[in-house]
């Protein structure tokens, strides 16, 4: 069942009569103020009205005497913010993990960084901060100067578990390109539990962005993730443009769309190859990475750099596309399109891929909804969620494309969703090149942003990327909250790995397209 935006609000108003909640439109979106534990009632109402209701993010904000806990809830085609406040001296709030288990990680992060205690969430202790970080100091509170924090000399001791064997993967491990630790508890060959420990790449970007200007922040947020950097830049500048109420020229919208899709092409080819490496299929890895190089060349033609391109800015893009470059881009795309039938055949029917990936890490549709997963992981389980269609941004509203879904929900389905999305991305780029409007490619915008707040979503290669920005009328933001798709997808791995063989852990895990620099920020 899908409800339109107006319906959802009408349902909320009707059901919540007599309760101390207040519906207002701020953030460019609807928001509901729900104090004194009523946030759970609002969420329950939303869950009843729309089965696709999920937590996009939870922002913790220091509001002076109170701490704000903003639940950003997405429905089928909208995003609604439930705002709750708790006093700083007694920051306790009822947990929502019984309603939506996917909220567990979001709550743990707010507990660690802002110091709100969620009653009902059993997890305590550091989640993203170093183990040696002192108790009771929360870096995202305004009165904490995080640079003066003295770390404890020794991390607390970890107790060993009973008869289960604990296999520790990471932080340095051949299968992981990045540092992160997963303790896999096995009984014989069968995985019984997985304990994640993230935070090895936690640099504190959200806090750092508060002490830099909006223009400097574009470069900072791009470096949250080098792989999907364009998506971070796009999500950030769009949010700022929403607060500024800037209308971006049509040509800039198309150029941004091209950049975003080229970014998706390189990211998907990277993952499709990497998955081959994880199952010992090295020639497939080499093939994919060979054909990914021309895409990197396109990025260089468009922006001047291969990876981090810093091409987007508030008000448009920094660089126009030259007419003479268009044929070069078309040539690369046509060449890649010719090779696609071979790769599709390999991913769909190659026996070794089917053996290693089919019926591995199966995530059922109802579990995918409960765990609030996003992107290809959700689409592989038959949930047709795609921000590009649900809430079109840039030029996506004008460009025809299909949302790819598979119903199997296993590792094979998730990888095949990506495989088929490669073709859609080529279509989008070619369509955008055909219909590229003429005119200006950027407008001037003021450096100082008026007080306000906005939320924004972008479909990154790994799924929905969420940004919340609160401005205070200066040249620097007051709070920037980033919820990356990889952070939302880890619960899917923790859920599906249990009961399967330890040998199935790498293909299952890589099918989420993990990226820890995104996860930790």
């Amino acid at each position: 069942m899908q409800n339109s935006k107006a319906d959802i609000l009408a349902v909320l108003e009707c059901k919540l009569q007599g309760k101390p909640v207040q519906i207002q439109s701020g953030l460019g979106k609807a928001s509901v103020i729900a104090n004194g534990g009523t946030h759970r009632d609002v969420l329950k109402t939303l869950l009843e009205a729309d089965e696709k209701t999920a937590v996009s993010a939870i922002s913790g904000i220091d509001l002076g005497t109170n701490l704000g806990v903003y639940y950003h809830i997405r429905t089928a085609n909208d995003i609604i913010t439930i705002k709750a406040e708790v006093p700083k001296d007694n920051p306790k709030l009822a947990s929502i993990i019984d309603l939506l288990p996917g909220a567990a990680f979001h709550e743990m992060e707010v507990m660690d960084l802002v110091g709100v205690v969620f009653e009902g969430n059993p997890n305590r202790g550091h989640f993203v901060l170093p183990e040696t970080w002192p108790e009771g100091i929360y870096p995202l509170r305004k009165d904490v100067n995080a640079n003066e924090v003295k770390l404890n000399p020794e991390p607390p001791e970890v107790k060993s578990e009973g008869k289960l064997v604990k296999i520790i993967v990471g932080p340095q491990h051949p299968a992981l390109l990045e540092p992160e630790k997963f303790a896999v508890m096995v009984e014989g060959e069968i995985v019984r539990a997985v304990e994640p420990r993230i935070g090895y790449v936690h640099r504190g970007i959200e806090k750092a962005s508060e002490s830099r200007t909006y223009i400097q922040d574009i470069y900072l947020v791009e470096r949250i993730c080098g792989i999907c950097n364009t998506c971070h830049a796009a999500a950030f500048v769009e949010t700022v443009e929403k607060i500024l109420k800037t209308e971006v020229p049509a040509r800039a919208k198309y150029l941004r769309t091209i950049l975003l899709e080229v970014n998706r092409l390189h990211s998907h080819l990277l993952t499709l190859g990497h998955a081959g490496l994880e199952i010992g299929y090295e020639s497939l890895f080499q093939y994919f990475w060979r054909d990914r190089e021309p895409i990197m060349d396109i990025t260089e033609i468009l922006t001047g750099n291969r990876v981090l391109n810093s091409s987007l800015t508030v008000g448009g893009v920094r660089r126009d596309l030259k007419e003479t470059d268009v044929p070069k881009i078309r040539l690369v795309l046509a060449d890649l399109r010719k090779k696609l039938p071979f790769y599709t055949e390999v991913y769909e029917n190659e026996p070794s891929i089917r053996m290693r990936m089919q019926n591995v890490g199966t995530l059922k549709r109802e579990d995918a909804l409960k765990l609030c997963v996003v992107g290809p992981v959700a689409r592989g389980s038959g949930v047709d969620t795609d921000v590009r269609k649900d809430e079109p941004y840039e030029a996506y509203g004008e460009i025809p494309f299909k949302v790819i879904t598979q119903t199997e929900g296993d590792t094979w389905a998730r990888m095949n969703v990506r495989m088929r999305e490669v073709e859609e991305s080529i279509n989008i780029v070619e369509y955008a090149l055909d219909h590229l409007p003429s005119g200006a490619y950027r407008v001037k915008t003021p450096r100082v942003v008026p007080a306000g707040e906005a939320v924004n979503r972008v479909e990154a290669p790994r799924g929905e990327l969420f940004y919340y920005i609160r401005s205070n009328g200066t040249a620097m933001p007051e709070r920037v909250k980033v919820r990356t798709p990889t952070f939302a997808n880890i619960p899917a791995f923790l859920h599906t790995a249990i009961g399967e063989s330890i040998a199935d852990v790498p293909p299952n895990f890589v099918s989420l397209d993990p990226c820890f620099s995104c996860t930790d920020r």
Partner: protein
């Protein structure tokens, strides 16, 4: 013996890659080095999964507080002589993350660095150039960087070991004659 070891080191340096807090930009360029377009394996450069087998440690990213101890431990596990290459602006100095609460600074805040390759991220050509420069520097080796802290088991240099083995052999022969 020394010449043989040096020959092997120059012709086929085994590298290990550790991300101490990078954004993945440099990491994907390192992986691109191993794939058909750049293919550094033709120079004998091989990516090794274990620090105990590696000659060169490639570090990407600013060193986060959580990673500092882990990076030191990986460095200590490598056999002597060992070389560290800091890849990217963040690894060289902390880059854009300098001064954030989660970050300690550049790689040289934690372990001694032999070579720096700046760039955000450095192009694969720059990475190849950096590694080649490192190898050329090894031909006329300056004093290898001092180990950071006295490791518990001090690795013995191959040369000294050779001398000791010879002495032991002579002694054994002398004993046999008696």
């Amino acid at each position: 013996m020394t010449n043989l070891a040096m020959w092997a080191r120059l012709k086929s340096p085994w590298v290990i890659h550790f991300n101490s807090g990078a954004c993945n930009g440099c990491d994907i360029e390192i992986v691109a080095l191993l794939t058909p377009k750049y293919d550094v394996e033709r120079f004998g450069i091989k990516l090794e999964p274990s620090p105990r087998h590696a000659d060169v440690l490639l570090v990407t990213g600013a060193v986060t507080k959580q990673c500092t101890e882990r990076l030191k431990r990986i460095y200590e596990q490598m056999p002597q002589p060992k070389f560290v290459v800091a890849i990217g602006a963040c690894a060289c100095s902390g880059g854009v993350f300098q001064g954030t609460y989660g970050v300690e600074g550049g790689v040289d805040k934690a372990i001694p660095v032999t070579a720096y390759i700046p760039g955000c991220p450095p192009r694969p050509e720059a990475l190849i150039d950096g590694v080649v420069k490192l190898l050329n520097a090894l031909k006329a080796p300056p004093a290898p960087p001092a180990p950071p802290a006295p490791a518990k088991e001090k690795a013995q240099p191959a040369e000294q070991l050779e001398v000791e083995v010879k002495e032991a052999l002579i002694e054994a022969k002398a004993n046999a004659k008696q």
